[in-house]
Amino acid sequence: MGDPKVARFVALCILGMLLFNFPILALFNVPGRVFGVPVLYVYIFAAWAALIALMALVAEKK
């Protein structure tokens, strides 16, 4: 398929699978807190939000 969006979305899916999986997830599975919130929680929600932002960029790009 010639649609560049296809490749971009596949790349985002792979990126997401890497971000939310061993071993990257394990890097943040450590004690300690950022602004009082556990590192793991901050990481997951921040990465998730970033992924959604990228999906919005790709989806809305004309």
């Binding site: 899916c13 394990a26 919130v37 997951i44 992924l51 809305e60």
Partner: protein, 917 residues
């Protein structure tokens, strides 16, 4: 204030509001001004994914696992990233084939198989029952808790007591009535429920706002922000451990990954998600917004889950309060009555939204794909001659809705109470994940067959039933618990929770692993065993190549048979009602510019009717019904495959054919030219022979005539005799010259001529030739002028032959120059690496048309028949051959001031030139 009547009244008021919204949206849709034709409404309707599980259960899960609840929402986010590829294709296929449900989709893909449609329906209904029971449990227990306000007490387990005292039972019945009112008021051929979608979108807003409200209240009302909650929680060792929970959770990373995969599949294959995402989709373009808005919704509704969970654990340290109820009990404990009521309504939204869409989707499947195909086959009912079946269809759907909700209640009573909300829901996720191989395989792989799909579904479902549903029922005491501990028939290898000895995984991971191996293995394995049938091949092609086929369904071209218009019309009328049928036929006629009523039922019309019918009763049933009125000649597998496969090959063939035909044309043109040339040569040879004979006969005739005179009249005057002998001599000389020239030409042409090349001075050769002709010039009183540079470089050549050329050109000039005032100019000069000689006369010149002809043998300018021949007609051809042998060129031009100019060139350096044949 929070008394039973108030809560019940508020709940009904809320349901009434939903109904009003749905009613309004339906009215607007009928008026053609849809309120749901917006990507934002579409995205919100997708959020029906967030059910009571999300609303109450996530906190419960977070209170024991920390982030363990998140894969259920991260998985869908990852899957949605692939929606551009997968869901767009599913949407396009569904629109083109008028798919009405997930079962319809799968059955259509595998040759419109009624068996698959039925099997998928059964799996979906049984698989979803736990999920529905989860909603019933959530509503009834949240009601039970709220109604005891201000006391916070967990509801008693309801083993005892009559069914009619059970809140959950009444909840089930009320929801059934409500769903019937929502989804089965009338029959839509496209299975669109715009009112329902509008209500669901509204519910998604309500549950999000309710959850955010309680989240803000807990985080900033009870505690002092996120940091405060986690700060205090980290002082409790048990809670601190939950902040790095991935090792401590059962199954660790494996469990995390499997939950992610499971929810990736669930977002596609839960019947209600398929309903809102695919069936209710109004515009493919809405997908672009939904791709990021829906994940954003999931992110938003999950932000406060962890704070509420930790807040609850800190607020109720004793463990006497079920973590699944924290969302409700925290505001209650803080005496926030209104917030508690809002939370209850939010939970009600989450649960009712799921139940309404799920049961509508399931009832459509039960009706179209399970009950109708069976009823239609029962000839005793004579359904195929009933005038109006719309009431029957609606009746079946209403019955199915009641039955599904009551079955959900039954599961709740049987097994539901022993489990937490999330665990119940995951059992359903694992069930619908069994559809993944046949759907994903079906839209990307043409090789999947009906039997493969049947075997895959059966195998996957069987393993799911054995490893997930059976243990749930057994644990609740309805089956001997020994089944779990010692396996079926006491065989240890068959223990449902450690099948074939695979222990150490959590239950969901274990079940997913085995069921997917069985499912994919059977699907692929059986598919590979046999080739697909004609119908399967056709449907596979329609699905897999949906983007390649352009806008049309492409079904008609594979069909041949006969049908009558009235029969088709009546058939459609029985299922859609007469008015809808007439409208459908009118639309058909109008779209194709045909006159109404139609005269002829062609393949396209039959296809159209089948598609319309499929919208109402599903593809499998529609196929049966249409077949009953159409005398269809089945296409053989070979024919269909030939049509499909060759369609692509034909393009290439025709391409190659074009190329071949172009080559052929070129070859033909060459051949024609060669043939022309051959004919020309043949004609020229004939001409040559006849001309030579003619040329020879002329002098011979005159010689013979004069010798005969001399022989018969010995007494001829001496003067006369001398004249006759002179003529004879002259004619003999002419004869000799002619024969010599013919011989000469044939020698040169065949390459047998001898050449004596020397270095020669061309100026000298020209002077010698002019000198040789001096007598002739004088006789004819012709002025000759020769111009040449002082000296010219030598060229190599045969002197005698070149003199022959010059003499020929000069005698031609003599013959054709002005009779009284003759003048010949000869010029020699250097040009382009060689020497050039011009011989000009002041005669009539050579016609444009004759300029090449005169170089042909025996061809002379002018009419040879009437005019007296002034030469043998061989001089110029011979001269041209000689010049060309020397690597030069001989040609003629007509001068502007009259007269012909014959020119030839001789190069200093001779290229090898093949002697012309």
């Amino acid at each position: 204030m929070l008394t039973g009547p108030v809560i019940v009244f508020t709940s009904f008021a809320y349901l009434g509001l939903l109904f009003a919204i749905a009613y309004y949206a339906d009215k607007r849709a009928d008026a053609g001004r849809s309120v749901i034709a917006s990507p934002y409404v579409y995205s919100l309707s997708l959020a029906v994914y967030a059910t009571a599980w999300t609303f109450y259960g996530s906190v419960g899960r977070a209170a024991s696992d920390g982030v363990g609840f998140l894969p259920i929402y991260i998985g869908p986010t990852l899957m949605i990233a692939l929606w551009w590829i997968v869901m767009r294709k599913v949407l396009r296929i569904s629109k083109q084939n008028r798919i009405t449900s997930l079962a319809d989709f799968i059955a259509s893909r595998y040759g419109k198989s009624a068996a698959i449609a039925g099997l998928v329906t059964v799996i979906a209904v049984i698989g979803i029952l736990p999920y529905i029971s989860l909603q019933l449990k959530a509503i009834s227990s949240s009601f039970s808790i709220l109604v005891q306000y201000p006391v916070i007490a967990m509801p008693e387990h309801m083993g005892a007591g009559s069914v009619f005292n059970d809140t959950a039972f009444w909840v089930a019945l009320i929801l059934a009535a409500f769903t019937i009112a929502f989804g089965t008021r009338h029959l839509d051929a496209a299975e669109h429920h715009q009112g329902m979608v509008a209500a669901i979108a509204f519910e998604s807003l309500v549950k999000l706002l309710a959850f955010l409200a309680v989240g803000l209240f807990v985080t900033f009302g009870i505690f002092n922000g996120f940091g405060d909650i986690f700060e205090r929680a980290s002082d409790v060792p048990k809670l601190a451990a939950m902040m790095t929970p991935l090792e401590s959770v059962a199954g660790g990373y494996a469990s995390w990954v499997w939950l992610t995969v499971l929810s990736m599949l669930a977002i596609m294959f839960l019947p209600r998600q398929f309903q809102v995402t695919v069936i209710e989709n109004l515009d493919e373009k809405h997908l672009s917004k939904a791709i990021w808005l829906f994940p954003l919704y999931m992110l938003a509704i999950n932000v406060f889950v962890l704070p509420i969970a930790f807040g609850g654990l800190l607020r109720f340290p004793g463990g006497g309060v079920d973590a699944d109820t924290f969302v409700l009990t925290l505001p209650m404990a803080e005496k926030q009555e209104l917030l508690a009521l809002l939370v209850f309504i939010g939970g009600l939204s989450a649960a009712t939204g799921m139940v309404i869409v799920e049961t509508i989707a399931l009832s459509t499947m039960v009706c179209n794909d399970l009950v109708m195909p069976v009823l239609l086959r029962l000839r005793r009912l004579r359904l195929n001659v009933q005038p109006d079946l719309t009431r029957l269809l609606l009746g079946i759907r209403r019955g199915a809705i009641v039955a599904i909700l009551l079955l959900g209640y039954l599961y709740f009573k049987l097994a539901g109470e022993a489990y937490a909300l999330v665990s119940i829901g995951l059992v359903s996720f694992a069930a619908v994940a069994q559809f993944a191989p046949v759907v994903l395989g079906g839209i990307f792989w043409k090789g999947g067959t009906r039997n493969g799909a049947l075997c895959g579904l059966i195998a996957g479902f069987a393993v799911w039933f054995y490893t997930l549903l059976l243990p749930a029922i057994a644990r609740s005491g309805w089956l001997p618990i020994g089944l779990l501990e010692h396996g079926l028939f006491g065989i240890e290898l068959l223990r449902p929770l450690a099948l074939f000895g695979l222990a150490g995984l959590d239950q969901i991971t274990h079940a997913m692993l085995w069921s997917m191996i069985a499912n994919v293995g059977a699907y692929v394995g059986v598919s590979l065993l046999a080739s697909p049938s004609a119908d399967e091949h056709r449907q596979a092609s329609l699905f897999v190549d949906v983007f390649r086929r352009g806008g049309e369904t492409g079904g008609a071209r594979f069909w041949r048979g006969t049908a009558s218009v009235p029969e088709l019309y009546n058939l459609l009328g029985r299922f859609l009602g007469a008015a809808a049928a007439e409208e459908a036929f009118r639309e058909y006629a109008a779209a194709r510019g045909l006159r109404w009523p139609l005269e002829r039922a062609d393949a396209e019309l039959v296809d159209y009717v089948e598609v319309q019918l499929a919208g109402a009763i599903g593809a499998a049933s529609a196929r049966v019904m249409v077949a009953s009125v159409v005398k269809e000649e089945a296409l053989s597998l070979e024919e269909v495959r030939a049509i499909l496969d060759e369609a692509s090959q034909v393009v290439e063939y025709s391409h190659r054919l074009q190329q071949k035909s172009r080559e052929l044309e070129t070859a033909t043109a060459e051949l024609r030219a060669a043939n022309q040339r051959l004919k020309e040569l043949d004609r020229m040879k004939d001409d040559f022979v006849s001309t030579v004979t003619h040329e020879l006969r002329t002098p011979l005739t005159s010689i013979r005539a004069f010798t005969q005179i001399l022989l018969e009249h010995p007494d001829v005057e001496p003067a006369q005799r001398t004249r006759f002998l002179g003529i004879i001599t002259k004619e003999t000389e002419r004869l000799t010259r002619l024969i010599n020239q013919v011989l000469d030409l044939s020698k040169i042409e065949s390459g047998r001529a001898e050449w004596h090349d020397t270095r020669l001075d061309l100026k000298e050769v020209v002077s010698d030739s002019l000198a040789g002709m001096g007598q002739v010039f004088e006789e004819r009183n012709i002025r000759v002028q020769f111009s040449a540079p002082q000296s010219v470089p030598p060229v190599s050549g045969d002197v005698d032959r070149l003199i022959q050329v010059l003499l020929n050109l000069l005698s031609n000039a003599v013959k054709f120059c002005d009779a009284r005032n003759g003048r010949i100019d000869v010029a020699l000069y250097e040009e382009n690496g060689g020497l050039r000689v011009d011989v000009r006369d002041n005669g009539a010149g050579v016609d444009e048309a004759d300029r090449e002809v005169i170089f042909d043998k025996f061809r002379q300018a002018g009419d040879t028949l009437t005019g007296k021949p002034q030469g043998t007609g061989l001089g110029l051809p011979i001269s041209r051959h000689i010049v060309e042998h020397h690597g030069g060129r001989l040609w003629v031009e007509t001068r502007a001031e009259g007269g012909a100019c014959f020119s030839f060139t001789l190069p200093f350096r001779r290229r090898r030139v093949a002697v012309a044949a």
